[in-house]
Assembly symmetry: C2
Homo-oligomer: 659 residues x 2
Amino acid sequence: MLPSEGRQRVQIEGVSPEIDGGRFPIKRTGGEKVHVEVDMFCDSHDAINGVILYRPETSQQWLEVPLSPLVNDRWEGEFTVSEMGSYVYTIMGWVDHFKSWRRDMAKKIDAAQVVPVDWLIGAELIEKASQRASGHDAEQLKTWVAALRSHYNASNGILEDKAVSPQLAALMAKYPDRQFATTYEKLLKITVDREKARYSTWYELFPRSCGAPGKHGTFADCIARLPYIAELGFDVLYLPPIHPVGVTFRKGKNNTVVAEPGDVGVPWGIGAPEGGHKAIHPQLGTLEDFRNLVSKAAEYGIEVALDLAYQCSPDHPYARENPQWFKRRPDGTIQHAENPPKKYQDIYPIDFETEDWQNLWEELKSVVLFWIDQGVNIFRVDNPHTKSFNFWEWMIGEVKQAYPEVIFLSESFTRPKVMYRLAKLGFTQSYTYFTWRNTKWDLTEYMKELTQTEVREFFRPNFWPNTPDILHAFLQHGGQPAFKLRLVLAATLTANYGIYGPAFEVCENRPLREGSEEYLDSEKYQIREWDLNSPYTIKPLIARVNRIRREHPALQSNNSIRFHQIDNEQIICYTKQTEGGHGSTAPTTDLMLMVVNLDLFSTQSGWLYLPLESLGLKPDQPYQLHDLLNDAQYTWSGEYNYVELNPHVTPAHIFWINQ
Amino acid sequence: MLPSEGRQRVQIEGVSPEIDGGRFPIKRTGGEKVHVEVDMFCDSHDAINGVILYRPETSQQWLEVPLSPLVNDRWEGEFTVSEMGSYVYTIMGWVDHFKSWRRDMAKKIDAAQVVPVDWLIGAELIEKASQRASGHDAEQLKTWVAALRSHYNASNGILEDKAVSPQLAALMAKYPDRQFATTYEKLLKITVDREKARYSTWYELFPRSCGAPGKHGTFADCIARLPYIAELGFDVLYLPPIHPVGVTFRKGKNNTVVAEPGDVGVPWGIGAPEGGHKAIHPQLGTLEDFRNLVSKAAEYGIEVALDLAYQCSPDHPYARENPQWFKRRPDGTIQHAENPPKKYQDIYPIDFETEDWQNLWEELKSVVLFWIDQGVNIFRVDNPHTKSFNFWEWMIGEVKQAYPEVIFLSESFTRPKVMYRLAKLGFTQSYTYFTWRNTKWDLTEYMKELTQTEVREFFRPNFWPNTPDILHAFLQHGGQPAFKLRLVLAATLTANYGIYGPAFEVCENRPLREGSEEYLDSEKYQIREWDLNSPYTIKPLIARVNRIRREHPALQSNNSIRFHQIDNEQIICYTKQTEGGHGSTAPTTDLMLMVVNLDLFSTQSGWLYLPLESLGLKPDQPYQLHDLLNDAQYTWSGEYNYVELNPHVTPAHIFWINQ
């Protein structure tokens, strides 16, 4: 059977970015560019042209930007997304007969092979374009037509030159003949988030540890802590679950199987007679107290993020009212969580194979909507890889359609393809393997995977040096320098990072036992009192690093990162810059150089090589370096320069480079 | 909006092979395997299972083969296609609760943590499977159910062991619960050709040069030449266009612009008053003579392939009867071919943008059908990249739906993406860059691109050391050793290869002029008389190499090729083997080692390294090498062995290895 139109001669393939054949959207924030590449060609020797078509998904009106040829039939173009929500884009290409004519005329003129009818061919093409044009352009084109037609009879060299003039070409390019244009068969998607999806600075805090000594902390205590958090420079305050904590099979301090009287339990064991995922643990305060925290935090430029942990304690109302949402064992009991030989009798996992899955999904979505109603727009999602992928894709899609500003952070520490799949399915940001990447090679390779492969299009890393679950051996044994080092790396490698405090800033480094990544006296199981004025605190460094991040847009996105050579395996060097570098002709507006000593115990030094020209610096002129950590100033010249870092003084240079 | 089924927990992605997101089919011949890999995983800790589903496109019945886990959530499986035509395949995966139960029970038994209800959980799963089973299997499963239920009350260690027995697991695997299975969203396609698509040996011959001295050759003369071609060992006889040759603007000998009286013209200038693409040049004979050639050739095991050159001389009947299929210039004349400053006034290219494209396409298709009716099943397509891609996809698709045995060879020497696109669109085989790949590095990299990347799934290379258009400088200056060398490379690197004879076997090496790849006194413009008994002929080598190819299945496909180390840049070494090698446990049935000296002038030697174990050889035992070119026998031991080749004696070893 014949196709409806057989004359579309341009072939389009190899479009990038295109995630899994267009199955998943790429991610951007408002104001970010989408750089597209595509293989595009037609049969024969004809010239072609093409554009990227794009629009907000809800718009009827395509916008377009031109494609330019690279090499080997590859073309590129880019556009900027502005509105939050979904965009779509695709490619259109067409045979450009005028472009072919002009190219061939130039060759014929060179070879003195022009025959009169060549002028008529050009005239015909220009005449058709004049019919697509209007106003002055149409008039101008018609003048050209007349000139070429009269030229058919009387050849003259001046017109020959003019016929291939860039002015005529530019005018013709405005009125292309797209009658037989090919449109790429796929409509590719973009999720456009707000800026915080790309650049955010997180502080995790257990509200119950914010109280006066010996007392259960409250939201009011959290409010009192806000100036401190703001001073540190964080803009997201993430709270572990704030819901009523289960009593049945409650774990005791340090994860003992039986709780003692007074043990406060694990906040992730959600649900008690007082309520479930839409309720607040009574000792923290009321819903009004919570809303008050949200609005007070906003005054400090801080957003409150909640933990979304879809699991239940045996005391959760769901277990009574919707037992069909849990797996029932043949003896009638509900199946608790287990990973043999480990048992988690305090947790009922939700059964996503329940026959009543429709009501379950709607209820789980309503939890998110409930907290959105209370002013929460950021959710840190607990172990999303242990819940149905299809549910996430649906739920996040539904929520973001109504509330495109909502951010979901995937707390999944599991196999790489699973973590990436969650990001593809809709999670805005993701936890990473950063915590376990400590050597120069590991850090470099990991950053390349995150920023130089397709992963960068859909996976936004959020680097955490610690979490309540992970106190890495590096921190356990490295003293204060280790905390400083990991803070600087997290904060400058990726634009999204966070710490679990105050454990982090006071350099808490005692593990449950040697070989464990669990904290001793972990806040997961008990209230902790922290000495915020500890002599070990690295609060000043954190505050300064976060200020540097705010003041330097180069640190507010990831993909410009480049690692540089230095003749010392203990020192890692990388630059970040805002658009304009990397061979672009636009000026570099912000260029940052990080030099980090990965050796916690000894001074390290080396000769650092910077490819000045490709960084946008003039190789023959000196350039200024301002170390933003200690305000030292340096003047460097040339590509090789000496650096030296003593870990007991400062773990790193964070240089702003100026020329 | 909720999906219709939300409980499909398995995620499927990263399917390979999958060409351009499933837009294009992969290619196989009957009896070949399709090795599939896929990323497959589900949420949580549950075990999963999966299958490849596949079927002939016209069948309603899915066939299936199991997937096995590799590492990092990757699975693999393979199946064999048998029937010519189209196949489809996809992936199905499901959560396997019995597999999870059995795995967890083994851990619990080890940890002495089995609780009685665990038996009931297993019993329930087995009972459900027994309802899917029938006959003896169902009975056996019910026996297990009873045993586990009774065990619920009275624990005993023997049953514990039995419950995780492989026998029960195997029985359960026969009756999986696929209620919530996920099927991959794409149906991927396979074009299954006959064997000659994969393995063929081509001989190109100008029929008009087959006559007695001074006479225009005929099909009858071609018939007389068949024993010679058969003796050389070719199984495809490809004829340049056999249609009436145009007279207007006919080119003379050596491409002179004006033909002299008696000049026979270019066969690709198709069309004269006697007819066009469905007619036969009168001097060659009649349609009956042609059919006679086809059937006589078949008696020698040779298929006749025709040239499909969709272009016209100004004298072609289309130019009179269907002038709308050509581009008309504003002065009313038809546009001839040109590539400024070159003009080809003897050729009218077809205008695929004609308004009458539907009739054009049907007519062009009818040309192919006409020759199929005359017994032709192989077409060598002239410059397909100068005709509409969409037309090819449609035409080849239509023809192969009715005649899946038809083979189309794409004669496109242009940019790589264009050549690959034509293969994706449906061409069965393709010309390549082989002619210009002469160094070890070039040959190795090119073969890796063709056999170790996705390209191998859709692009079947056909290597030609020469064509009437290409006499490479290597052949011009290398004498007889150059022809021998290129013959051995073409014939052993790829399973499809061809030569343009008798120019090739008699080592014709005179170019039109220094620096040109055109032949002097090219047959494209004149009749040539060839001395088939020339003292320079390499006919014996060709005959032997083609016999070796027939007798050794390892040389009848490409993708097993592996290049091996030798400490001499002038010697290239590679093995090919039939299935079973490369780490497989199946026995290697045919293992061939080629050692080729790329230096045309000097003896070269070196120590060759063979990875014996991965080739399926026992490292601790000697192995026999039989040089099939000269019947010399060698016994080698170990991984390093010495080779030496004198180009004036033999260009290569073609070893059959036996242990």
